[in-house]
């Protein structure tokens, strides 16, 4: 999130798209409803009418996988009707920058495309620069080569008719949403966007969010109280783990090195640079963060002479994609022998479950660390498996639950909060940190005894997190904050003296010369000599905004709204004084922790507000992504229409394809004529592992179901409550049909497209009559940038189950069942016809 949960409560307009906040983020929804209570408008755009739609002032439907046309249409609308916040756009974005003449876009492809590699050479996606290296600009925005004009040209194709024919959203509904959200382009009107997996889980997931960010920049809603682009993260502390590391990054979003960067000098040569004296370019500090990280990893063993142990870090092969889908593809192809699975249930959560489950059977060993037995740890006795023929040796280590251990947890709003242990772990279960510690000590012992191919990364690791064999979470958190490793007589930042062994105040004090350590620069400042900032529980807000700086600790530097220097005009006065986030009082900033303490850009020594971008401004033209500098619509891998109405490129040209024996796909195939989409409900959690063992939650949502419209039910002879079979090219599952007015067919490119909605909470293990995972149906394909699987749009069929109906025992207690098995009322004709 750019902003915070509490801040949603002051918004004038909340666009919830790609999210079912009411069901999956009930606490976020609390703040949404607070905003509504104060007169704010809730807009919900979603393929299904959900519990969120039920609370919205405006609900609009759209076909899964068509967010870019929907949002692209809004960009066109804002530009055409000149509803943008011009001062903001001109000063704080790259709208005026001149793009290289060699840049081009034709028929769905940007310049530099290589069809064999399914990848772009991005050499032409650059700005024209002057002799100093500063981008050339045209502040009149008239130059046909400037970002504004290129963007206008790009989205001119996204007219209402075209957008409506792709999304299936009636034109009047599109206009209603565009009109309403566009009102937030005024300085004193602020709109926010809330999204979740409905935007990310597509082959164009990253570009969905780019499109949203562009709108928020055009309307001047980024950095503002009640504004921003806000990801509601789907798992507690998933923000924390993202901040710590992912497959392609080291802690704190430092790029993971590859084999071509064989030493620290080469790694540091990739540090973002700027020639513009008005750009802060905070990423220019990266060498300090990698040096401090290596010192934290390897301690005394890390010296200037040995590149602080950089050589001991694992490196990717050049061009290697180590994302989730690739990992399971390699596992399926027998290239991985072992797998440690910690706190997840891929046999149910990963797409194309049959492939995933078979991949597990090709391992030599698997260590599964979890609270309970699950479909992954017990894959070998699952449906279609013959335990006698499976070689994988499985170890299930019992983990402690969240209330049985102490530590920090980071919410979507980047706020880390300290949590205390309520009771000791049950039986032999242990906290994750303890398990990893014991595993490491054992591995180290084996390496020390027997050597091995490359023992140094293990043996040279500094590992002092345990006292008497017990991991101390405070010690780990201090390590993450970072220490001064030597006495510093005069620190270059504040000229003050710092003692060896004391905690650094925050990441501003980190050094590239090995005199500081830091486990993750973003969290530096969270546990320093003032104490554990994450344990703070003071509910005092700042006077003019609904943010609470003394509650927990938000990275970076306890900033609650990032990019907040864009919430003021170039002289430092808030665009919206009623909801001021920060203000320049003539000598310093007051309010939230400013996005850098430098003066506002119009004053002497002033700087641009977007400090993480080398050019200091936000990117309407974003050359950093794999699939283009402007979001462009491509259909999902499996879709119901033969041709993309916007270009000859049906699917995202930069998305890697999988072509193994179980990677089956079918598009516009009469055997699978309906669009499938997966989602969660309030009552279950992720694959359901923590909820399917819980009788009260199983009582509320007992069985796998699928939602379908009255029209589709009629077409297929399905009645509400029937057991049905849902199939895709990859497999089939049973489900209970929920025939509902909340699902409506889409009128797409003059054809009727039906939707089948599927929760993904169930698994064969428990409850016994609950059904299996809907990921048996989903395809192995991911986003071009992140690799997140396309769970939200694929093709299925649905039909009445052929085998005899399972005998339903009448419930003796439910004698007085006045309202059992409600049949949905047929909608009036005006509703069904689009």
């Amino acid at each position: 999130m750019t902003n915070s949960y509490t801040d949603i409560g002051v918004s004038d307009c909340i666009l919830i798209m790609g999210s079912n906040a009411a069901e999956n983020h009930p606490i976020a929804m609390k703040w949404v409803l607070r905003a509504q209570e104060k007169g704010g408008t809730i807009i919900h755009v979603d393929p299904r009418f959900t519990r969120t739609s039920a609370k919205a002032d405006i609900y609009v439907s759209m076909r899964p996988g068509t967010d870019i046309p929907f949002l692209g249409g809004m960009i066109k609308y804002l530009i055409e009707k000149d509803l943008i916040f011009k001062d903001y756009v001109l000063n704080y974005t790259n709208a005026s920058f001149i793009v290289s003449e060699k840049f081009d876009f034709k028929d769905g492809l940007f310049s530099g495309y290589n069809p064999e590699k399914r990848a772009y050479d991005k050499a032409t996606w650059v700005f024209e620069r002057d002799e100093k290296g500063i981008p050339k600009r045209d502040d009149t925005l008239q130059n046909p080569g400037c970002v504004y004009q290129l963007m206008k040209k790009h989205y001119a194709r996204y007219d209402l008719d075209t957008v409506s024919s792709i999304t299936g959203t009636p034109k009047a509904d599109l206009i209603k949403v565009y009109e309403t959200f566009a009102t937030t382009g005024k300085p004193d009107r602020v709109g926010t966007m809330l999204y979740a997996m409905g935007w990310t889980q597509h082959t164009v997931g990253t570009q969905n969010i780019r499109a949203a960010s562009m709108i928020q920049l055009l309307l001047g809603n980024v950095g503002m109280a009640g504004g921003g682009v806000n990801a509601l993260r789907g798992e507690s502390n998933v923000q924390g783990i993202t901040d710590m590391f992912l497959y392609h990054i080291l802690p704190g979003y430092l790029p993971h090195p590859n084999a071509a960067l064989e030493n620290l000098e080469k790694y540091n040569a990739t540090t973002p640079k700027t020639s513009d004296p008005m750009s802060v370019n905070w990423w220019g500090n990266r060498p300090k963060y990698i040096a401090s990280l290596l010192k934290s990893f390897f301690g005394e063993n890390a010296t200037k002479e040995n590149d602080f142990g950089y050589g001991w870090l694992p490196k990717f092969d050049v061009g290697q994609n180590a994302s989730w889908l690739n990992m399971f593809d390699e596992m399926f192809n027998g290239k991985l022998s072992g797998f440690i699975c910690l706190g997840m249930n891929p046999a149910c959560s990963s797409p194309n479950s049959e492939k995933t489950r078979k991949a597990l059977a090709r391992l030599d060993w698997m260590v599964d660390i979890d609270l309970f037995e699950n479909e992954t740890s017990s894959f070998w006795k699952g449906p279609g498996m013959n335990p006698k023929k499976i070689k994988t040796e499985v170890f299930l280590l019992p983990a402690a639950s969240s209330v049985e251990k102490e530590g920090s947890i980071t919410d979507s709003a980047r706020t880390a909060q300290w949590r205390y242990k309520a009771c000791d772990p049950l039986g032999e279960s242990k906290a994750d940190g303890q398990i990893i510690h014991e595993l490491y000590m054992k591995v180290k012992e084996l390496y020390a005894k027997g050597g091995g191919a490359f023992p140094d990364p293990i043996l040279k690791l500094k590992w002092d997190y345990a006292k008497d064999g017990k991991v101390d979470p405070h010690g780990v958190t201090k390590e993450i904050n970072g220490y001064f490793l030597e006495d510093i007589a005069e620190h270059p930042v504040d000229k003050k003296a710092y003692k060896k062994g004391t905690l650094v105040p925050n990441f501003v004090f980190l050094l590239a010369d090995g005199r500081t350590s830091c486990g993750n620069w973003l969290y530096s400042g969270g546990y320093n000599e003032t104490g554990n900032m994450m344990a703070r529980r003071d509910k005092t807000p700042i006077p003019t905004a609904n943010i609470f700086p003394k509650w927990g600790y938000s990275w970076p530097l306890n900033r609650r709204i990032i990019y907040n220097r864009a919430s003021v005009d170039p002289n430092g006065n808030p665009w919206d004084p009623k909801r001021a986030v920060i203000k320049w009082d003539g000598s310093k900033w007051v309010g939230d922790v400013p996005d850098n303490a430098v003066p506002p850009m119009a004053l002497p020594n002033g700087k641009y507000p977007f400090i993480m971008k080398p050019d200091g401004v936000a990117s309407l033209f974003g050359p950093g992504l794999a699939d283009g500098p402007f979001p462009e619509h491509y259909e999902p891998l499996e879709c119901p229409i033969v041709k993309n109405p916007l270009s000859s490129q049906r699917i995202n040209p930069a998305t890697p394809l999988f072509s193994g024996e179980l990677d089956k796909f079918a598009t516009c195939d009469p055997r699978f004529p309906f669009v499938g989409t997966t989602y969660r409900v309030t009552e279950h959690w992720q694959t359901g592992l923590m909820t399917r063992y819980q009788p009260w939650l199983v009582e509320a949502e007992p069985q796998m179901f699928c939602e379908l419209s009255l029209d589709l039910a009629k077409l297929k002879g399905i009645k509400n409550g029937d057991r049905v079979t849902v199939s895709s090219p990859r497999g089939k599952i049973w489900a209970i049909a929920m025939v509902t007015n909340r699902i409506k067919p889409f009128n797409v490119a003059d054809q009727i497209v039906h939707l089948v909605g599927l929760p993904w909470h169930y698994g064969w293990l428990v409850p016994k009559d609950g059904g299996d995972s809907s990921n048996i149906l989903t395809p192995t394909i991911g986003d071009a940038n992140t690799g997140i699987p396309e769970f939200k749009a694929f093709m299925v069929n649905v039909s009445k189950e052929e085998r005899p109906k399972v005998e339903k025992k009448p419930d003796p207690k439910a004698k007085a069942k006045p309202e059992a098995k409600p049949e949905p009322k047929p909608a009036p004709k005006a509703e069904t016809k689009k």
Binding site: A22, E23, P26, I27, M29, K30, L33, E37, F49, R51, T52, S53, A54, K55, V681, T682, E683, P695, W696, L697, V698, E699, A700, E701, P702, Q703, M704, F705, K719, N720, G721, D722, I736, A737, M738, V739, T740, N741, R742, D769, K808, D811, K813, A814, A816, K817, P818, E819, A820, K821, P822, E823, P824, K825, A827, P828, A830, E831
Partner: protein
């Protein structure tokens, strides 16, 4: 005006997360019912001896537009509880004077269950296997110890509220005023007669069959009227059996 405690249930803020339904079972340690998906999210199908609270989820077309209406159904703790009048046995059903909670004890086993159930204008009490009657008790044990009822404590959106009756009525009227601006048909349901005051935006019968007091089949029966007429003033035991 009656004092004591009251709930205010703002259905405009209810997202049917069903946290209240589950929190109720958790605090009361009530077993889960064996349910199946009946083609609706709503489950269990009805209140029962082991289920004191069910969130009703209704898809309705209002003025040509789809609405999904949520209604956490529970005992209303009537200001003048007909069930207590019908039972005419404070050892079995009594009203706690301090809070106004209507409490069923194990002694309900000795009552004519059908009569008690039929006396309820909201169709709330349910009979167990041995004839004992059960329903929501306002989390009497929690409230006596200064805690909120479990369902209120767990509600994430502010739909479930609990406090002094005066405060709840004030809050209810404030929210009614706000909601009326958007939904002219908004209303409070039987606010004068019950301690669980619902605010709805549309016609109450769309939310739940027994959203408002039923006029037919329930209400004051002859037996009840007689029972009331001859009811002696007794000391109401505060002890829960």
């Amino acid at each position: 005006m009656a004092e004591g405690k009251s709930f205010f249930v703002d259905t405009a803020k209810c997202t049917a997360c069903r946290g209240c339904q589950v929190a109720c079972k958790q605090w009361k340690n009530l077993p889960a019912e064996k349910t199946i998906n009946r083609g609706t999210n709503e489950n269990p199908a009805d209140l029962s001896f082991n289920t004191y609270k069910v969130v009703r989820m209704r898809e309705e077309i209002v003025d040509g537009k789809l609405k999904w209406l949520f209604f956490p159904e529970q005992c209303r703790h009537c200001v003048e509880p007909p069930c207590a009048g019908m039972a005419d046995n404070p050892a079995a059903i009594f009203k706690d004077e301090a809070t106004g909670a209507v409490i069923f004890t194990a002694k309900t086993k000795g009552l004519k269950a059908k009569e008690i159930i039929e006396s309820c204008p909201y169709n709330i009490p349910r009979k167990g296997k041995d004839g004992t009657l059960a329903k929501c008790d306002m989390c009497f044990d929690r409230v006596q110890n200064g805690l909120l009822p479990a369902c209120v404590k767990t509600c994430p959106t502010g739909a479930m509220n609990f406090g002094e009756r005066k405060e709840m009525l004030a809050l209810a009227n404030k929210r009614l005023g706000e909601l009326k601006k958007v939904y002219p048909g908004a209303m409070l349901l039987n606010a004068d007669d019950v301690r669980v005051i619902y605010l709805v935006a549309y016609k109450p019968e769309l939310y739940c069959k027994y959203a408002v007091a039923s006029n037919s089949g329930f209400g004051i029966t002859r037996q009840m009227a007689l029972a009331r007429m001859f009811r002696p003033i007794r000391n109401i035991p505060l002890r829960l059996v």
